[in-house]
C-alpha cells in the first residue's frame, strides 16, 4: 500500500499534475507579494509555453 501511494506520487509528479501546487509554493516562499494564478490560468499558460517549441521528436 505504501508502495502504491509512492507510485501515485511519482506518477503525479511525472505527469505534471503537481506543477500548479509547486508553483504556488514557490510564489509563496519567494514572492509573497505576487498574486497566485488560478489553476486554470496556470494550466493554459503552461500549455502555450510548452508547445511553442519543438517538444516531440521523430
Amino acid at each position: 500500500m505504501k508502495l502504491l501511494i509512492k507510485f501515485w506520487h511519482v506518477l503525479r509528479e511525472a505527469s505534471g499534475e503537481g506543477d500548479y501546487a509547486r508553483y504556488c509554493a514557490h510564489l509563496r516562499a519567494h514572492h509573497p507579494d505576487r498574486p497566485l494564478p488560478s489553476e486554470k490560468q496556470f494550466y493554459l499558460e503552461r500549455l502555450k509555453h510548452k508547445y511553442a517549441r519543438v517538444s516531440r521528436c521523430c
Binding site: H30, Y43, A52, R56, C57, C58
Partner: protein, 687 residues
C-alpha cells in the same frame, strides 16, 4: 569560470561497497557474455536464431558503453562538476527552471526523444537482414548518438538551457548559427512529410484502422474540454479515461469494418487519406492547444511508454525466433523496400535509434532546465538514448520474426512486384523468400485487413510483428487482429501528435502570423507527402533517405558545436569523442547524397529517374492520360535532387566553418572564449 575539480572526480563515480575484485569479475562476465552474443549473431548465418541473442548482445553493449565510455566522457572530457549549481537551482522559478528528481527528468527526456523513427527505420533496414542494422544501432548509439545527446545536454546546462541554434551562433559563429536554424526548419518539414506518409500507407484501404484513428480526434477533444473546464490540469484521471475510450475505439473498429455503411465511410485510398491528413494538419495547427494537441499528447505519451514496456516484456516472455536471415541478398542494393547498398544507405535509413540529430533539440530544450546536478546529465543524456536504441533493437526483432516472404510482400511497392497477388508472391518467392497468395490472404484475415500487399512504410509490418509477439503472450490467436490495430493506432496516434506539434513551431502570438506560418509549414510537408503518395515506387524509397540525410545533417551540426566547445574547454586531445562520429556522418551523408542525386540507377538517383521518364515521354511511350502525372514525377525527382544537394551543401558549410574555427583556436590565433554561465557553488546537498 570553473574551479578545478580535484578530489571531487570520485563523486561522480559509482560508489559501491562491493570488493573491487568482485566488481571486476562482474564486468568481465558482462563483456564475455556480450562478445559471445555479438559473435553468435554475426557468425550463425545459416539457421534462424533466437531473438534473445540480439537482446543479450544489446544489453551487454549498453552496460559496457554506459559504465566505461560515458564515465570516461563525464570524468575526463567534460569534467562534470557536482559542486556547480545547475540552471534549475540558480534560476529556480517554480515553472521553467525546476530542480527535478533525476528519474522523472529521465522519463520526460526519453518520452520526448522516442518517436516513430526508431520503430520505422529498423523495420525498413530489416530488408538487408538483421545484422547490418543491429550492428549500426549498437555501435552508432554507444559511440555516436548517446555522445551527441549527452554533450549537447551538458553544453546547454552550462549555458542556462540555451538552444542548439543559439549555441551554434555563440560558440562557432553566425554561419553555423544560420545553418543550424535552416537545418532545423528543413528537417522538420521532411520529417513531418515522411511520418505522415507512414500513417497514410498504414491506413490505406483499412476501415478498421481509419475508424480508430478518426475516433481519437473526438476522444482527445473530450479530454481537452474536461481538462480545460471541468478539472484543469488533472492529467492522470483524464488520461485513464481517454485510454479506455481509445481501447473501445480499437475494438469498435472491428464492427465498423464489418458494417457495410461504416466500412464505406472509412475506406479511402492513399490519395484521399493524404489530402485528409493535410487538411487535418492545418485545422489542428490553428485550433487552440488545449483542445486537441495537449490531451492527445498526454494520451500518446502514456500509450507509447506502455507499449514499449509491454513489447520488452513480450519479447522476453515469447523469446521469438528470427526468420529473417542475418544478411539478405539485398545488401547488393537491389532491395524492394529502399534501393541502395548497405554503405551508405543502412546508415541513413536508421537514424533514430543510432544517431538522431533531432535529439539535440530536446537536449537543448526543456531537459537542461530540470536537471538538479550536472553529473546527472550522464544518466539523462547518455542513458535515455541507450533506451531509445533498445527500442530500435526491439523494432528490428519485431520485423524479423515475420517470415521473410511475408515481410517482403508487405513492404514491397506494387511497382516492383506487381499488383496481382499471385504474380507478386511468385516474384518474392523467386528471390528465395517463399510466400504464397493464400498465406497473405490468411494473414490479412488474421489481422482484420482486406489486403496486406504493398503496405509500405514500415508501420504495418511492425504491427504484424508486434501482434505476433503480443498475441502469443496474452490471449492467444483470437486477439491478433485487435493487437494489430492497437499497434497501428499507437503509431498513428503519436505521429499525428508530432504532425500537430511540428506544424506549430516558430509562431508568434499575432493571429495572422499563426495562420500564415501554419499554412507555410503544412503546405511544405503536405507537398512532399502528396508527392510521396503519388510516387509509383511508394514514396518511402525517395522520402525516407531524404529524411535520414536531413536528420544526420542536424546531427553533424550538433557534433560540430560539441567539438568546438570541447576544444574551447582546452580538451582538444579528447576532441575525437565528438569529431569521429561527426566525420562518419559527414562521409555517409555525402556519399548518400551523391548517390541519391547522380547514381545512374533510376531507383536510386533522382536525376537518372527524371531522365528516364523524360526519355519515355519523348519516345511517346507514356499513355495520354498519364502524361501530366509523369511530368509531375519528373519535376518532383528534380526537386528532390535539389533538396538533397541543399542538405549536402549545408553539411559542408557547417563542417568548413567549424574546421576554420578549430584551426584558429588550435593555432592560438583566436582566444578560446566560452559563453558559459558563471560558476556558482551548489547549495543542494547529496546526490
Amino acid at each position: 569560470m570553473s574551479i578545478p575539480a580535484d578530489g571531487d572526480l570520485k563523486v561522480a563515480a559509482t560508489a559501491s561497497r562491493w570488493p573491487r575484485l568482485l566488481r571486476a569479475a562482474v564486468w568481465v562476465a558482462i563483456s564475455v557474455a556480450g562478445a559471445g552474443a555479438v559473435a553468435a549473431i554475426a557468425l550463425r548465418r545459416h539457421e534462424p536464431i533466437n531473438a534473445m541473442w540480439l537482446i543479450v548482445a544489446a544489453a551487454c553493449v549498453y552496460l559496457i558503453g554506459y559504465r566505461f565510455y560515458s564515465r570516461f566522457i563525464a570524468l575526463k572530457v567534460l569534467e562534470l562538476d557536482p559542486r556547480r549549481a545547475t540552471p534549475a537551482e540558480r534560476l529556480d522559478d517554480g515553472r521553467d527552471f525546476v530542480p527535478t528528481n533525476k528519474w522523472i527528468v529521465f522519463g520526460h527526456h526519453f518520452a520526448a526523444i522516442a518517436g516513430p523513427g526508431p520503430l520505422v527505420g529498423p523495420t525498413l533496414a530489416a530488408q538487408l537482414g538483421y545484422l547490418p542494422g543491429t550492428l549500426w544501432i549498437l555501435v552508432g548509439a554507444v559511440l555516436g548518438g548517446c555522445v551527441q545527446d549527452f554533450v549537447v545536454l551538458f553544453a546547454s546546462i552550462r549555458r542556462n538551457g540555451k538552444s542548439l541554434g543559439q549555441m551554434a551562433r555563440e560558440e562557432v559563429g553566425p554561419v553555423a548559427g544560420f545553418t543550424a536554424l535552416f537545418a532545423i526548419t528543413s528537417i522538420l518539414i521532411i520529417m513531418l512529410a515522411v511520418i505522415a506518409l507512414v500513417v497514410t500507407n498504414a491506413l490505406r484501404g483499412s476501415p478498421w484502422g481509419t475508424f480508430t484513428l478518426a475516433m481519437t480526434i473526438p476522444i482527445a477533444m473530450l479530454m481537452g474540454i474536461y481538462l480545460r473546464f471541468l478539472r484543469p490540469g488533472k492529467v492522470l484521471e483524464v488520461s485513464v479515461l481517454g485510454f479506455i475510450l481509445v481501447m473501445a475505439a480499437v475494438i469498435g473498429g472491428q464492427y465498423a469494418a464489418q458494417s457495410p455503411l461504416l466500412a464505406r465511410w472509412f475506406t479511402y485510398d492513399a490519395r484521399a487519406l493524404a489530402l485528409m491528413i493535410i487538411a487535418y494538419g492545418f485545422a489542428a495547427s490553428v485550433l487552440p492547444v488545449w483542445l486537441l494537441l495537449a490531451p492527445r499528447d498526454y494520451l500518446s505519451t502514456f500509450v507509447k511508454l506502455g507499449v514499449i514496456f509491454l513489447l520488452a516484456l513480450g519479447i522476453l516472455a515469447v523469446r521469438p525466433t528470427l526468420h529473417m536471415p542475418a544478411i539478405s541478398r539485398f545488401i547488393d542494393g537491389t532491395g524492394p523496400v529502399f534501393a541502395g547498398t548497405v554503405f551508405p544507405f543502412c546508415f541513413i535509413t536508421i537514424a533514430c535509434g543510432a544517431v538522431s540529430g533531432f535529439h539535440s533539440l530536446i537536449s537543448s530544450g526543456t531537459t537542461p532546465k530540470l536537471i538538479t546536478r550536472e553529473t546527472q546529465a550522464r544518466m539523462v543524456g547518455y542513458g535515455s538514448m541507450l533506451l531509445e536504441s533498445f527500442v530500435a533493437i526491439m523494432a528490428m526483432v519485431a520485423a524479423c520474426v515475420l517470415q521473410p516472404g511475408m515481410y517482403f510482400a508487405i513492404n514491397s511497392p506494387a511497382a516492383i512486384v506487381g499488383a496481382d497477388p499471385v504474380g507478386a508472391t511468385a516474384v518474392i518467392s523467386s528471390w528465395g523468400y517463399p510466400v504464397t497468395a493464400p498465406d497473405m490472404e490468411q494473414l490479412a484475415r488474421l489481422v482484420g485487413e482486406q489486403s496486406m500487399f504493398a503496405r509500405t512504410g514500415g508501420a504495418p509490418s511492425l504491427a504484424v510483428g508486434m501482434a505476433h509477439i503480443f498475441s502469443r503472450t496474452l490471449g492467444g490467436g483470437h486477439f491478433t487482429a485487435v493487437w494489430y490495430h492497437f499497434a497501428i493506432m499507437f503509431e498513428a496516434l503519436f505521429i499525428l501528435t508530432i504532425l500537430d506539434a511540428g506544424s506549430r513551431v516558430g509562431r508568434t502570438a499575432w493571429y495572422p502570423s499563426v495562420l500564415l506560418t501554419g499554412v507555410l509549414i503544412v503546405a511544405g510537408w503536405g507537398y512532399f507527402l502528396y508527392q510521396g503518395v503519388m510516387d509509383p515506387l511508394g514514396g518511402i524509397n525517395s522520402l525516407w533517405p531524404l529524411f535520414g540525410i536531413a536528420n544526420q545533417l542536424l546531427a553533424s551540426v550538433a557534433l560540430c558545436v560539441s567539438t568546438t566547445i570541447i576544444i574551447k574547454m582546452g580538451k582538444q586531445r579528447y576532441a575525437w569523442v565528438t569529431m569521429a562520429p561527426m566525420l562518419w556522418l559527414v562521409i555517409t551523408t555525402q556519399t548518400a547524397s551523391y548517390l541519391k542525386i547522380f547514381s545512374p540507377n533510376p531507383r536510386i538517383g533522382f536525376v537518372a529517374e527524371a531522365e528516364r521518364l523524360t526519355g519515355l515521354l519523348a519516345a511517346g511511350q507514356i499513355p495520354a492520360d498519364k502524361i501530366a502525372a509523369t511530368q509531375r514525377l519528373i519535376f518532383n525527382n528534380r526537386l528532390d535532387a535539389v533538396v538533397t544537394a541543399l542538405f549536402a551543401g549545408m553539411v559542408l558549410v557547417i563542417l568548413l566553418d567549424s574546421a576554420r574555427h578549430w584551426y584558429l583556436l588550435l593555432s592560438r590565433r583566436r582566444a578560446p572564449v566560452l559563453c558559459e554561465a558563471e560558476f556558482v557553488p551548489s547549495a543542494i546537498a547529496g546526490d
